[in-house]
Assembly symmetry: D2
Homo-oligomer: 366 residues x 4
């Protein structure tokens, strides 16, 4: 490792002249400087810095999964970096409280000068969404139209180009599809699994039917919901049905990936599945934290603007709330809990499988 | 102040025999103790302790507002206690992360033993909702039915009785109605306000019409939204219109209370309005934090159960997400931002009013 | 309010070319790019952005207190801005967890390239310390020496200049000294106060003497501590003694300011004292959060470097832990609790004083 | 899995009659109910519930490490449970902000009734400390004496008994000692390591000597610190020296355990070391969070009581601050960073070792 040859000065290293010289108030330009515009600018700049960091981690993870095989050492690094993203997301969520120290009236003292700028023009946030897996086809109508039309040509091109590349969602789906182990020698996970879950669902149905606290209307609704669950469930064991439901938007993961993910979640405590399990859990967490951010952000906009249009000329908070649920990416990892079996209903893994799941060392009496 | 006469011992004072002896696992009773059931019980017990504390503060605030007049000293105490509630809510929201350290599979190892118990049976949480202002009439259909039918007779009676008493929402509405100052001598706030906001709205309309980044469809939608805002706005100055919109659920505050709250928010920096402003802001915060809690809770349930029914026999997370928005209590304080004017468009308060807004001391050259 | 004349674009407004183009890795320059250096840079840049925001608020507060009198309207703004600082501090404290996602070994992969840059060279952080009130005379020896000698000439001059200006601590002290009301007509707060506290202290002494759980050695130590408290206490009523103890560093506030602050804390619920009380509480909170930041930062450095020297050539964490306690600014507001009386031991304020403490409106039957 | 046979009711399951019926105010008993005593009681009860949960996890981890060998599956569970403890600690640290909504004066309205109860009498907290590894020999003098003398006989016996059992610290030390792999075939980690670190330290020395920003006094101090580091360092390769320094309290880990931990931290990305690395990191985090809690708790006590004695008759915050640093348990995991090598100075692991570090599956082209 080389030593540095010229002395490094804190302010130069961090380029603080750029960083701290990039806050020019529009309100000042128009002759009525607003104290709170500084906060507004800095809060957004901090968000953009964090977005840059998150993209840095995310892109490295995407690079790893773009390979044909992912070594365990690499998976460790991937999980580490996803945990870092989660930690940053936590901070970004809490940062909304800082923005909320600005009262609606303080915002009014400069918001007109910002027209038609809009948070929808954050290229990094859009890159983040696309890279995670939120491509045009998954956006709701309004979002589809408005996604690109507020952008400058150069920015639009960059994002359209990015949409052509595989997202983390797609890459993880493919990686899950490459997982072996669902069927081996005389062990057939699916076969056993089908019987066990079927039992479980019947028990649920009886719970509904015998629950004395339910009104008739409620019971009817519950049984309808149960029926939908039953159908999703049947689809697990019938690829054609699955593909059909996926076409209706009931699932996003491919059939094979869904089964692998289920297997991993069922046997999470086997050493070989532990890293994959940590990966799935981290992606779940990222989706959850992003969703909470969207929701809190929508509420903050409502608190700041009421039902007024935003500076970008759209009634922000309605739109934002709508996308909170519709823009979720790893939703399957949440809904997957529907299909889990309690541990004591799981088949014992046969020795031939077990051998695959330990470390070399385990053999030698560690 | 008397001294205590008998020595006090930490464990006796806190009645730790009761507190720490109240964790009996159902899974143990059925012969297969589940490690995570302890977490499940303790997390819920902690929530119930916090609910008790929040109710303690909330009831004292309700008592204060139940008087015919609220002295400034009392308002200071009220704001202090609401801030304490907010601090506790922050903790309760973060506590969901502790629950989420339990995996869905770990939950499955004891969830069947809990049937048909359900979080919907938390009497303290329901008391909290009712005391804040979430009475039966505001609940969505499903919620209306299911609110009472899972409860034991005694609990149902207690809550039905509570519904007859004035809630914090109602009391604050009445207190706002008693506020003077909207019209005094030759000063007519409303008159001035109507002109100024009308101007502002016209400017918004032009922003939409001239925004080149909007598609025709978007513009159409935006103008429709603008029209709705315009109508809400007109209602401010026409009590009959307001009452009609309120009947449709567009507002919950009474006409007079809405105007007082607006006046307070507009002149928040006048000393006499500062405490009322802090009060309104605290109630906004409480509503926001409760809403975030509902949303995070719904996501946690989804993560734990997928689309399966909960132990109470209802498909938890659908229901929970629906109530997140519909059960908001102080929503008017959010939407009110729609009607705010920037400071430089506000009328200068005349001296006769100003005199009301300072402290005695101000006169004497402090 | 003017409308903006040229359209505003998100990325231009926030100057994202500068903000997002200011991350140049030293490790890249030396041919071995280290993945984590990006995190290191961005975390520091975010801190510097927050420091800029905190200074923006702090300087506006200092401006307000630099006037001969502070109007109530202004005090409201001051408290609002201090609360914003606290909210930002909360975020800055939590941000340490993001830095800690970098392992010590990851840090080693680029730390040598940073020599001799050091966090001690953050001019904004030093400005923050000085503006709050941490001038050279209060620094510990090591800190005194090292404070300036790592800086470039221009930076040193800027800070030395700042040390000549009144800090927030000094200005608040002067403002407290200008407070009236300690003695008025036939009311003498101090006289009453002396008697009451004397009683209280004697009771404390008896508690120590009669506590059966204390060993002789403990009792001896406790009585010595009690004696020190007694002496501080006597100094409250004897300006000469106070000045002497202040000379020894036992107090930082002036005698008059200390008494005013005590009076405010005793009667915090009187409307006129509520804003001053909120001010004192906010400054206490700022001191507490800054202290926690120092402590967590010191631990983070220890975790990253162990007992090794930092990039600036100093063994960071020893130094940092030492300054955690010694660099506290508003410590008197903490220790002041020593002198508080419970409410039922406070003298009833006479009507002539009471009249000063309400709002005009109170008279008119609000 | 059996179904439950009798219906389960929320309030009965959680024993809410006990939990919510355990708040009896002392101030009420003495005829002057204090509003804030409820908060005081509930905050402490919540802490005790969390302590119970932490002990539940901690004891299960201790059981695992009490075995002669720890299987990988078990290590996964251990790490999972330690992460849960960390999440709870986060909440416990933030909970101090809730307590701080009580003003010192509010505390005074009931504190005298609590004499001589004291937080030092929390048996669960003491069990936590002892089980983690804070046995009497490591406590500072004052702490040693006062640890037991405020307790009732039964409680004292329980803790003294617990001190006889192996703590988590001791068990992890033994587990680290059992780790193989430091020397194998022709690979000698220590030998390589000694050379590399020696180089690194010399470079540090030169950094100090050539740093133009250091004053003579500073340079002298830095070189003295460097010398101490050098000695600690030499001790790594000389067991006798190490034992001597450990006798002086410079290390707590045994020599063998220290080397194993170092090896793990150096090669954290090798799959077989990843779980042990996660374990060490989790213990570091637990120590850090506990330390922050102690520090924040000490500051809160100071803010509440100043320099007054606490209800237990001891001047709380001095004592508490002293123990913050002295009661650290896994400090070696922090200081260990001193001895780490950057990745590019590490020896390439030979294939014979490598074979131990992968999963079976890796061989088969996953």
């Amino acid at each position: 490792m080389k030593k540095n040859i010229e002395p490094c000065y804190y302010g130069d290293y961090l380029q603080l002249d750029k960083i701290l010289g990039a806050q020019h108030l529009q309100s000042e330009k128009y002759g009525s400087p607003a104290h709170e515009e500084t906060l507004f600018i800095i809060v957004h700049q901090v968000y953009e810095l964090w977005f840059k960091q998150v993209l840095h981690e995310l892109n490295s993870v995407i690079d790893t999964f773009s390979q044909n095989q992912v070594r365990d050492q690499e998976l460790i690094t991937v999980v580490h970096r996803l945990h870092r993203i989660i930690q940053i997301q936590q901070l970004m969520n809490d940062q909304i409280s800082v923005m909320e120290t600005m009262t609606p009236q303080q915002f009014l003292s400069f918001r007109d000068y910002l027209v038609p700028a809009s948070g929808f023009q954050s290229i990094q946030f859009k890159r983040l969404e696309i890279s995670l897996g939120l491509k045009r086809e998954y956006r709701i109508d309004f979002d589809k139209q408005s996604f690109y039309n507020r952008l400058e040509e150069r920015d639009r091109a960059l994002l359209e180009n990015l949409e052509q590349k595989p997202s983390l969602f797609e890459l993880v789906d493919q990686w899950l599809c490459r997982m072996p182990l669902l069927k081996k020698d005389d062990f057939d996970f699916l076969d056993h699994y089908e019987k066990a879950t079927s039992e479980l669902l019947e028990a649920d149905k009886q719970t509904i039917e015998n629950n004395p606290t339910l009104s008739d209307k409620e019971r009817y609704q519950e049984l309808k919901d149960w029926q939908a669950t039953r159908e999703n469930f049947d689809a697990l064991f019938d690829e054609q049905k699955y593909v059909a439901l996926r076409g209706e938007g009931k699932f996003r993961l491919s059939h094979k990936a869904m089964l692998s993910a289920l297997f991993i979640k069922q046997y999470a405590e086997e050493p070989i599945f532990n890293l994959p399990f940590q990966l799935i859990t981290a992606l779940t967490e990222i989706d959850e934290k992003l969703t909470i951010w969207r929701y809190r952000h929508a509420m903050m906009v409502q608190r700041m603007l009421g039902t007024k249009i935003g500076t970008g000329g759209s009634s922000g908070h309605h739109y934002l709330k709508k996308t909170t649920e519709s823009n979720r990416i790893f939703l399957d990892f949440f809904n997957m809990a529907t299909f889990l079996l309690p541990k004591d209903m799981l088949p014992e893994l046969p020795p031939s499988i077990k051998r695959y799941l330990g470390f070399y060392l385990s053999d030698e009496g560690k």
